[in-house]
């Protein structure tokens, strides 16, 4: 169970990215986060694994206070939270397999991983994850040689290497074409359904929300404006989230 309580983030320049956001996600749920660009979706996801330190509020996960965790505790918490990014964020100059193995860093002793020593079990697990996303043949290619869809699949394999209980997906399909978008979303769906991993996924297109999400929260200018089932988003609700002049395209 993930509980976000009164979460507020004010950046150093005074921008209020999140103000008093509270919601709950039960284990194994697929939650979509929607809202305009700049509405605070990315900030919210990054507060959950503390890539960004929230200004106020509390995030409780499995009875542990993430917001109060020390650096060492945070390392332990982060390794159980996988993250998938809009721009894939692979290390483009490294090999695909190295990128996937990087998901194991939280479990590896720092001294050994510095000289690129991963255990045999880790290497085998990395190959299995690559097989799952259909990229085992590309293991020794440089990541920059892959197409966008393939890169995102490597990103998912990296997140899965962490053996996560939760995956934060920050607009995972926004840089991909619609066909690839569905294929990536299906991987996330399978991870959610078969591996029982909680998924928090920010999305732009409502049809994807209807198709994949079990619950939805919506942000507008850092405030939570909707929490409920995807089917509950009617035209009026839509305008509340996206502004009065918005038109539905999806």
């Amino acid at each position: 169970m993930l509980r976000v309580e009164h979460l507020t983030k004010v950046y150093d320049d005074g921008t209020v990215a999140l103000s008093d956001v509270s919601f709950q996600v039960s284990d194994g749920q697929f939650l979509a986060v929607i809202g305009l660009s700049g509405s605070g979706k990315s900030t919210l996801l990054r507060c959950i694994n503390r890539l960004i330190d929230p200004t106020e509020g509390r995030i409780m996960w499995d009875g542990e206070d993430i917001t109060a965790a020390s650096q060492e505790d945070m390392r332990r918490i982060r390794r159980r939270i996988g993250m998938v990014f809009q721009h894939f964020n692979l290390v483009y100059r490294s090999k695909v397999i190295t990128n996937v193995l990087a998901g194991r860093l939280g479990y590896t002793s720092p001294a050994l991983s510095i000289v690129n020593r991963f255990s045999k079990a880790d290497r085998e697990a990395a190959m299995r994850q690559l097989e799952r996303v259909g990229l085992e043949a590309k293991a020794n290619n440089r990541s920059e040689e892959l197409s966008g869809g393939q890169q995102q699949r490597v990103g998912i394999a990296r997140a899965m290497m962490q053996n996560p209980n939760m995956i934060l997906a920050d607009e995972p399909v926004a840089s991909l074409d619609p066909v690839l978008a569905h294929s990536i979303m299906q991987y996330l769906e399978s991870i959610n359904r078969d591996d029982r991993v909680t998924v928090l996924c920010s999305l732009h297109f409502l049809d994807l929300v209807h198709r994949y999400a079990q619950r939805v929260i919506a942000l507008n200018e850092g405030k939570l404006v909707f929490e409920g089932l995807p089917a509950e988003i009617d035209d009026e609700m839509f305008r509340d989230i996206y502004g009065q002049e918005a038109e539905r395209v999806g």
């Binding site: 890539l51 982060r78 692979l90 100059r93 860093l105 939280g106 991983s113």
Partner: protein, 633 residues
């Protein structure tokens, strides 16, 4: 004529462009600007003594031509010479029909004007094709074969001469001869000749001149000087560059209590590290001077270290007691120290043995021995740094533990106290340096006053840290290292070389130290700017997996900077080769020393050889580095 894409429908544009309003103030400023520019450049002309009349002055132009010609003929080859005659037919007195002598064949040529004359007439003898700046003896040879010397001429830089001579009173009806005798070079570049010199040795002509041999010797010295400076500079600059990168240091924020305790612990760590270093050093020196013994103990110690490290850093999930781990870590540290010492000693002993027993490869043995010496020195420094690091970390952890257990008021008090102590310690350190530089005696102004001031500043910083909860220690390190490296970079290597020449004496060692130091400063800046320009996404992704800061750097940052680092290092080697050609001007070794000497002696042909060598080396370096960059980047 309609412009392509223009609207041809004949519609009048809605707004006709209006003439910009005349702006009196702006025009005034432009005029003032132009006048100011005029004054600035006039003054610049005066101070730099710009003078076109000097450029046009004929005697100066002649000097220029002389130097240019000398530079165009670098002193690279020595030629053997032999005396050669060249004969020209002549008639005294002139027949009525006049006289035209048979033309001379070959490179040497003389002519006399007029081609025949009466006894005791003054005629002009001129010659071409001789060796530049060489004596030419001119003789009159009557039919009986006696040689009457008319004059000794000297050729100019192009190998010609012109001389007026008075003919002897030797009228004769048959042909007589005017003869010029001078030295000529033997052999040519493509078909060299072999002749006996004055000592009876067979020598080749032409052969490399002494200047060419010296130039080659010094240009090799130059290239290796640059290589050493670049290597040493790069090794030091790489770790430092991370501390001068804003994007890495910005997030390093430490609670004030942890920072204070860490700073207090650092001097203790340095002291402890040095103590351990000296202790192991004495231990190793007490062993007998046998290279085999030291080599074997290095291997054994290394093996033991690895075993202990396995205990100290167990694989995740292994059940190892905390104290066992700490003990194993300490033991491994001490063993590494001892192993380093025995390795250094082994290199020294083995290298010296090699140098003494293998005369042909003595320099290899000496190199190994030097490496051992360097290793021993570097190990001392590293131990002090490692001690500081470990103790600093322990101090920080202690701070964390204490902060979690005590109530807030006590925590605040402890924070201010520890930061005051830390500030005091740092200030006393600064005070000691100042006291050393300005030879201040007495402890009042080097210990007491700095401590009080530092403690006050430390407490002030702690107060700030209390309000925000942490101190931006990373940004402090960033600005400090930036300041140091910018200052160091602004001092030209030539100036640094002067200081190093005073320290280690004339020669290439001083030059490579100066270049190395400057390389550290310059590369740290270039490298750190590379780190700052990496894409942050991958770093964020690696951090999100639960990686430590060090792992994040190794997996997220390093792969992104490898190729620019290689590229910058090669660029720096290129610069260092160029710099090392002039570092000799101040005694820093390399080819600059020869170049400067020859310029001072006005020996421009010799200097030209050195300039040529520099040009060849710089051009080929440029080519090589661009090829390597294509390959790696």
């Amino acid at each position: 004529m309609a412009e392509p894409g223009a609207d041809n429908s004949g519609k009048i544009p809605e707004t006709t462009p209006r003439r910009p309003k005349f702006n009196r103030r702006r025009s005034l400023w432009i005029i003032v600007g132009i006048l100011a520019g005029f004054v600035v450049y006039a003054y610049a002309f005066q101070t730099t003594e710009v003078s076109l009349s000097k450029i046009r002055d004929e005697t100066r132009q002649e000097s220029l031509v002389r130097v240019l010609r000398a530079l165009a003929q670098p002193d690279l080859l020595d030629w053997e010479t032999v005396n050669t005659d060249v004969d020209l037919q002549y008639l005294i007195p002139c027949p009525d029909a006049g006289f035209e002598p048979v033309a001379i064949e070959g490179d040497l040529n003389i002519s006399v004007s007029p081609t025949c004359a009466n006894p005791r007439d003054v005629v002009t003898v001129s010659g071409t094709g001789f060796i530049p700046n060489e004596q030419v003896q001119v003789f009159f040879v009557p039919p009986n074969g006696t040689r009457l010397r008319l004059t000794i001429a000297r050729t100019d830089a192009s190998g010609s001469f012109v001389e007026d001579v008075r003919l002897p009173n030797r009228p004769d009806e048959s042909l007589q001869t005017i003869q010029a005798e001078s030295k000529v070079r033997v052999g040519s570049i493509f078909s060299p000749a072999y002749v006996s010199d004055s000592d009876g040795h067979t020598v080749r002509s032409p052969r490399w001149s002494q200047n060419a041999v010296d130039t080659l010797d010094k240009i090799i010295e130059t290239v290796f000087l640059a290589l050493l400076a670049t290597t040493a500079g790069t090794i030091i600059a790489i770790p430092l560059s991370f501390f001068a990168a804003k994007n890495l240091m910005r997030d390093v924020r430490i609670p004030a209590l942890q920072l204070g305790l860490a700073v207090v612990a650092v001097p203790i760590g340095v002291g402890g590290g040095l103590l351990a270093f000296n202790w192991t050093k004495d231990l190793v020196l007490a062993m007998s001077d046998s290279a085999i013994l030291h080599g074997a103990s290095t291997l054994v110690l290394a093996w033991l270290t690895i075993r202990l490290l396995r205990l100290a850093v167990p694989p995740p999930g292994a059940q190892t007691g905390r104290y066992a781990r700490i003990g194993a870590g300490l033991g491994a540290g001490l063993l590494i120290l001892t192993a380093g010492q025995t390795l250094a000693r082994f290199a020294e002993l083995a290298g010296t043995w090699f140098a003494q027993n293998l005369s042909g490869a003595a320099f290899l043995g000496e190199f190994v021995a030097s490496l051992g010496d360097i290793l021993a020195t570097v190990f001392g420094v590293l131990t002090a740094v490692a001690g500081a690091g470990v103790l600093g970390l322990l101090g920080s952890k202690l701070g964390y533990g204490v902060a979690k257990r005590v109530p807030e008021s006590i925590r605040s008090l402890l924070t201010i106290l520890s930061m005051a102590l830390a500030g005091g310690i740092v200030a006393v350190g600064v005070g000691q340096v100042v006291g050393f530089l300005y030879e201040i005696a007495g402890t009042r102004s080097t210990v007491t006053i700095p401590f009080v001031v530092g403690a006050f500043l430390g407490a002030l910083i702690a107060w700030r840290g209390l309000r925000r909860g942490y101190l931006a220690a990373g940004i402090g390190v960033y600005y400090a290292s930036r300041t140091v490296f910018n200052t160091m970079r602004s001092i030209e290597p030539l100036v640094m070389a002067i200081v190093f020449v005073i320290w280690v004496g004339l020669g290439p060692f001083a030059g490579s130290l100066a270049l190395g130091l400057h390389t550290v400063a310059a590369l740290t800046k270039l490298y750190s700017e590379q780190v700052e320009s990496i894409s942050p996404g991958p770093v964020e992704a690696v951090r999100a997996t639960g990686a430590t800061r060090l792992q994040t750097v190794v997996y997220g940052v390093v792969p992104q900077i490898v190729s620019p680092y290689i590229s910058f290092t090669m660029y720096r080697w290129d610069i260092n080769v160029r710099m090392s050609t002039i570092i000799g001007f101040v005694g820093g070794g390399g080819i600059g020393f020869l170049l400067q000497q020859n310029i001072r002696l006005l020996n421009y042909r010799a200097a030209a050889a050195q300039m040529l060598a520099i040009a060849i080396v710089v051009a080929s370096m440029d080519y090589l580095s661009s090829r390597l960059r294509e390959r790696f980047v």
